[in-house]
Amino acid sequence: MNWDIIFGVSLESLINGTMIAYALAAIGLNVHFGYTGLLNFGQSAFLGVAAYGLAMMVSTFGLPFWIGIAVGLLGAVVLALLLGIPTLRLRADYLAIVTIAAAEIVRLLFRSVSLSEWTGGSDGLQQFSDDFYAMNPYSGSLEFWSISFDERELWVMTVGWALVAIALTIVFLAMRSPWGRVIKAIREDEDAVRSLGKNVVSYKMQSLILGGVLGSLGGFIIALKNAAVQPDTYGTEFTFYMYTIVILGGAARVFGPVVGSMIFWFLLTFVNALLPTLISQGYIPTWLMDANQAGAVGYILVGLGLVLLLIFRPQGIFGDKKEVMLDGR
């Protein structure tokens, strides 16, 4: 048993680019779902729009990197407006329906054949990250015990953690302000907030934009880390992982999404590294599970673990049980 490698990759996943991207996405979703009570089931679309905004500007149209970033961010704002204007006046469940549909529309547009001239179809786009890696100050890889990051990964992580720090600061400052108080009050009862003279629709829109833009930062990280965009990265299961992460960490807690993302990826990586080893060493008989099935079983075990966690700790890691148990009257 090579425990060094198993723990090495698991520990890497606590801080690597993938975890950061999910954390950013979940920070945005936490603004929507945790603080405002908006049921956004299309968060993956915000990441997709940002990633494709960047990739298309640079790769398809040959524009500079920073224009790509600006277009990606603008894309997230426009998507928030498109989703919000027709639905935020309606009951909360309409937003859920519209967002889940919109996310699929966005993904299918990216992979549609008729647009493949610009989006690359189901193959996606590459070669848009050169400018990003040209800024890389690192020249060698980092090796420590059985943990290793190459210089590209290090650069992605540096930028990623900086973005996480900025996103958390914004959420922290916003949510302890009177603005955040209105946002949290809308989660509790929007008619009450309306009766106190606050423009609820406008606040919900601001929240949708803020969470979408914060989430879109995760889209940039995924795109740059892979140096490629592919439409199926941004499917609905992505959004459900984000929900898992938000609830795991504790909804409406500033650090919840980051810690949730760490736990999620640590468990997933650990199980996915452990099971194949156990099979190859003969600890798990092949009639029970072979190496090809290990990946699926990994998800099953992680899912089971999360179910148990939510049964015995419904408030997540950071949540306050007393608060969660209050009924929503």
Partner: protein
């Protein structure tokens, strides 16, 4: 009400203002804060509200009563912008309010509470209160990120909130989640929170619903104190004892229309009101308005128009005209 030994100035003022107002639906008031004309709201084929004319006296406590389904809450929702009428106009403090969004109505100084209390459960009591503060700089997103801009105003709002909490005896609950309060305390919190908006007019939708009798007196006291503070109160209520106790003027709705107006005692003796509550055709017995009025204690002479009221049962009238809570 008439038995009060000392009459507080607010009550005296309200009574004086309403002394000469005719006891007729749509009667003009000396100094109306709210004037509504031909407000109609239909739900499909049903006309839920059809109010020709209504005026609410400034500085008085006006009760809006009527049987279930009379359109009281719908009318409330219309006035406060929570629902849109099919037609109609109304002016609040001289400014037209028809078609104005609910949050703007509140900003203009007309604040409502809800029949089903809306405490913001997972906010603390003090945060519930602070939310009511108007014109907060920190409520705009970019300014919110810089605490220096709103800290001072936040302190002022908190001071005012603490004063109100002390007045409503909720100061011990300051840091508790609103969701942990009892039903009556939530009613108190909702009323206190509405006062944070510093309204001219407070609209209370069934303030006594679900409140235990011990707390009723304290709630009644708070409603009366609003009048002493110069605010106008319009409230919907089913509890006739409360209506009789605190209101200066009563407006009765039935089937979407205003069917009677007057002081509490006259209205409760009005055969049209009794008909509205008990139905006018239940046994077909001819009914004499004067006789009915005479049987209801504390009633003044019936108003002239009650002569053409539809036949009703004297028996029904005897069984306490108003007390027909669901």
């Amino acid at each position: 009400m008439a038995d009060d030994v000392t009459v507080p100035p607010g009550v005296a003022k309200a009574r004086a203002a309403l002394k000469d107002v005719p006891h007729e639906p749509g009667a003009p008031k000396q100094d109306p804060i709210l004037v509504a004309d031909s407000v109609v709201r239909r739900f499909g084929g049903l006309t839920a509200v059809s109010v020709d004319h209504i005026e609410i006296q400034r500085g008085a406590i006006t009760a809006l009563i009527g049987p279930n389904g009379a359109g009281k809450t719908t009318f409330f929702n219309l006035l406060t912008g929570f629902d849109r009428p099919d037609e109609g106009d109304w002016k609040f403090n001289g400014k037209p309010l028809a078609g104005v969004a609910a949050h703007k109505v509140a900003k203009q100084g007309m604040v409502r509470t809800f029949q089903l209390t809306k405490a913001l459960s997972r906010l603390t009591v003090i945060d519930n209160m602070r939310l009511g503060g108007t014109g907060q700089k920190g409520e705009s997103f970019w300014k919110a990120l810089i605490p220096g801009i709103w800290k001072k105003q936040e302190q002022e709002i908190t001071e005012r909130a603490d004063e109100l909490l002390a007045r409503f005896k909720l100061d011990a609950k300051r840091e508790d989640f609103a969701g942990s309060l009892s039903g009556g305390q939530r009613k108190l919190l909702e009323m206190a929170r509405a006062l944070m908006v510093q309204p001219d007019m407070v609209m209370l939708d069934e303030p006594m619903a679900g409140v235990n009798p011990a707390l009723t007196q304290s709630l009644l006291g708070h409603v009366k104190s609003l009048r002493e503070d110069g605010m106008t109160v319009l409230f919907v209520e089913h509890d006739m004892d409360m209506v009789r106790d605190i209101s200066d003027w009563v407006i009765v709705m039935g089937q979407g229309k205003v069917i009677a107006e007057g002081t509490p005692d006259t209205v409760m003796a009005d055969p049209r009101v009794i008909d509205a509550y008990l139905g006018s055709h239940h046994d077909g017995t001819e009914h004499d308005a004067a006789e009915v009025a005479a049987e209801v204690p504390g009633a003044d002479a019936p108003s002239s128009s009650s002569v053409d009221a539809a036949p009703s049962s004297a028996e029904g009238a005897k069984s306490e005209g108003g007390k027909t809570d669901e």
